[in-house]
Amino acid sequence: MIAKQLATTCLSALLVLALAESAAGVIVKHLQLPHSYAEGRNAKSNRGWRAYTAPRGRPANNRLVILITNSQGFAPEITDSSFTYPARLKALFERRDPNHSYIVANWAMNGGSAVEMVVMAARAAAHHPDAVYLLSYSENFVGWRIHQPLSYGASNVDYLAYLPDVRQYLSPWFLDYFEVNRFHGQLAVHSRLLRLHDLWMVKIQPIRWGFVEEGPKYELALWEPMGDRMLQEFYDTLRRGLPRTPLFIVNMPLNRLRFTAESGERLSEFSRMAQEVLGSEPGVTVLDAVDVIPPEHFHTWTHLNRAGHAEFAQWLFERSRQWMESDGRLAGGPS
């Protein structure tokens, strides 16, 4: 008797779940999600990159450049995304090379850590870009954030790591160390209901951005061996999907006046360590942009103002010419 009633109850519950799952599928399908290439910046201050969309087929005259970066590209202080350095870079590319249409995907994440950037590298591999830029500075590659599970910072990057076409490029060490084996994560990829939850949850978790014009000088965290490991992990992850695509590693501009004297000596640590760890790898170019922007063109100690974005785009463009002139391919690379 109990078994029969329990079975009827469970069937009824499953029916409701199936109906809800179907309804969620319809809703998710019709949600206007931003495309991975479409948004110039993370306009609504959401934590994480929201675009889950699968790689598009691109026309032959189309070139894709993916920028993986922190809040410096996320640019909350720029009111119009067309003024950000990725948008300006696209314009410069297209002016220099009118035969091609360029997509400069601005995968910027506020508070992004190296852990999340590795997942974005795997995501980039799935998109088969013509060039990848890692734009960061040492803070994103050291400290407590790179010792937390991937799910620690609520973001959609966590979801990306469970997508099969992204996950295939992540190493077993990465999946294990950053606990990318959660039941919820596995389920979220297969359940529209959970997908809807994740979209809703991340959407309503914006970060309140506080601009600090003045205040105490910033102390840069010390580099640690784990930073080397994360740089290597980023490279290996990218190379699993993109064996020859050019990778530019850029130490982002920083406002030297806003850092302590001791930290000032370590502002280029990211590019220095990247050169040490990955400098001899094929297709890797390490650039140091720490002092290329004058202090008056910064909003904060790291964030550029509109003029700063324009200057940085120009600087980056000039250093990308070689790649452009080689038709976007390294010798012997896939066409």
Binding site: M1, I2, Q5, L6, T8, T9, C10, L11, S12, A13, L14, L15, V16, L17, A20, A24, A154, F183, S191, L193, L194, L196, H197, W200, M201, I204, Q205, P206, R208
Partner: protein, 472 residues
């Protein structure tokens, strides 16, 4: 082990399978073993050792008390039990506090750094009540150690109550535990309801409350207000969710546990509130402390003294901190004022606390709720000075224009969730919900289960927090 963890969802079917298959003594042994697995998850020796110590102590003392008619001997054995139980509780929960207090007074005492075993306050009070009941000859001492151990360790209510009485639970555990189909269906409905309250409502509110109370100095008065209202609902939803899950789990196994909450925020006075909030603790304090102290039978002064003493200990039961003491004293003050009001205005006439709500009760419900809201500032603040700073902001400083440091979405969601919780409170009070959860139609019950799962999946908070009362 947390009720809202994946481990528990794997653990529960195993327990229920054993429960369905086994009969008689093997069933009791199975349930006892599973209760120890549940409690000792992650700390098997440490946690279970303490639990077993407490069980053995009260099993032996109750047998010794029951075996003699000599009042002195009975009292002596009771004192051994009380000293042992309260000694353990004191060592783990209050030794650090006392040592810090002594150091503040100029003594040089080593502050012990002992980890607080989860649920020690709950099972200690439960075992104490058993021994006292035997001492009072209200109960015969349990001869079967397995029954006694299961009474102390019964996993649904072990960690955060309800604090059960041996008179209710022990004989149920000792008898056949055969649930009816209604028990199973209603039990699971109750579990789902508890999980929904915890994982969706309490945990979302907790995120805002934590933000506000982590650094209250940087928050606007409106943030503090939102955080304090939020905490009032969070703690109710969190704690009552645990009780719902506990009652539901026990019912699935054919055991009836006592209800711990009955819409407390719709109480018309503090006395009624205290009879609707954490009922198992309030009745414990009444039966084993307030009444033995003389209750209200020894004149007005003694009644007030008893009230304050009981609430002081009620506060200390929650934790060894001055904030909890002030929380208890504030409620004690409320109870005293209510007693004075009853004596002077109502001329001592007894109020019918079960009478249906009327619109004319609205004012007193609001007064009672806001009295409790002040107590929650003490309860939630990290220190007494922080609590007074917050109260000063509320009562002595201008509030300024409405502005929040908390992001707008969090503010809207918090207000919405509190409104839903308030509505659910009213629905509970009317008895409609009880009719729903006791549906006998498997199809409708199944639909309700499905709906609750959908709500949980769609809305669960990003950070699942531990139940608040685990720390007590």
């Amino acid at each position: 082990m947390l009720f809202n963890s994946l481990t528990f969802f794997l653990f529960l079917p195993v327990v229920l399978l054993g429960h369905a298959v086994l009969r008689g003594r093997p069933l009791k042994v199975w349930m006892l073993a599973m209760s120890y697995v549940f409690y000792g998850w992650g700390h098997p020796l440490w946690y279970n050792g303490l639990l077993l110590t407490s069980t053995v102590l009260d099993y032996c003392m109750a047998r010794l008390i029951d075996a003699t008619d000599d009042p002195k001997a009975r009292t002596a054995w009771l004192l051994v039990s009380l000293t042992g139980n309260l000694g353990l509780l004191g060592l783990f929960k209050y030794a650090g506090y006392v040592a810090r207090l002594a150091n503040r007074w100029g003594l040089d005492v080593v502050v012990p750094d002992l980890p607080l075993p989860i649920g020690i306050s709950f099972y200690t009070f439960q075992t104490i009540s058993y021994t006292i009941d035997v001492y009072r000859r209200q109960l015969k001492a349990e001869k079967d150690f397995v029954n006694m151990a299961l009474f102390v360790a019964f996993f649904p209510q072990l960690v955060a109550g309800p604090i059960e009485r041996a008179g209710r639970l022990l004989h149920q555990l000792a008898q056949k535990q055969r649930p009816s189909s209604e028990d199973v269906l209603c039990g699971f409905t109750r579990i789902g309801y508890g999980l929904m309250k915890k994982m969706v409502f309490a945990d979302w509110l907790g995120l805002v409350v934590n933000q506000v109370y982590t650094d209250p100095g940087r928050m606007s008065t409106w943030d503090l207000l939102l955080g304090t209202y939020g905490f009032a609902f969070q703690i109710y939803l969190d704690f009552s969710a645990y009780s719902d899950i506990a009652v539901g789990l026990a019912r699935v196994m054919g055991i009836q546990l006592m209800e711990n909450f009955r819409s407390p925020y719709l109480s018309r006075n503090i006395s009624e509130y205290w009879q609707r909030w954490h009922i198992s603790l309030s009745t414990w304090l009444r039966d084993y402390l307030y009444v033995p102290l003389g209750g209200s039978r020894k004149g007005a002064r003694r009644t007030i003294l008893n009230i304050f003493l009981v609430m002081l200990l009620g506060g200390l039961w929650h934790g060894a901190a001055n904030t909890f003491i002030l929380w208890g004293l504030w409620i004690g003050l409320g109870l005293t004022l209510y007693h004075v009001y009853r004596a002077l205005v109502l001329k001592g006439q007894k109020e019918d606390k079960e009478r249906p709500l009327a619109w004319s009760d609205a004012l007193w419900i609001l007064v009672t709720f806001h009295w409790m809201l002040v107590s929650y500032v003490f309860f939630r603040s990290a220190s007494v000075s922080e609590a007074f700073q917050i109260l000063k902001r509320f009562f002595c400083e201008p509030w300024g224009v409405v502005s929040f440091a908390i992001v707008r979405e969090d503010v809207i969601r918090s207000v919405l969730f509190m409104a839903i919780a308030g509505l659910a409170h009213w629905v509970h009070r009317t008895g409609i919900w009880q009719r729903w959860v006791n549906w006998r139609s498997p199809v409708l019950t199944g639909a309700l289960w499905g709906l609750m799962v959908v709500i949980i999946v769609l809305m669960f908070a990003p950070t699942q927090q531990q139940f608040i009362y685990f720390q007590f």
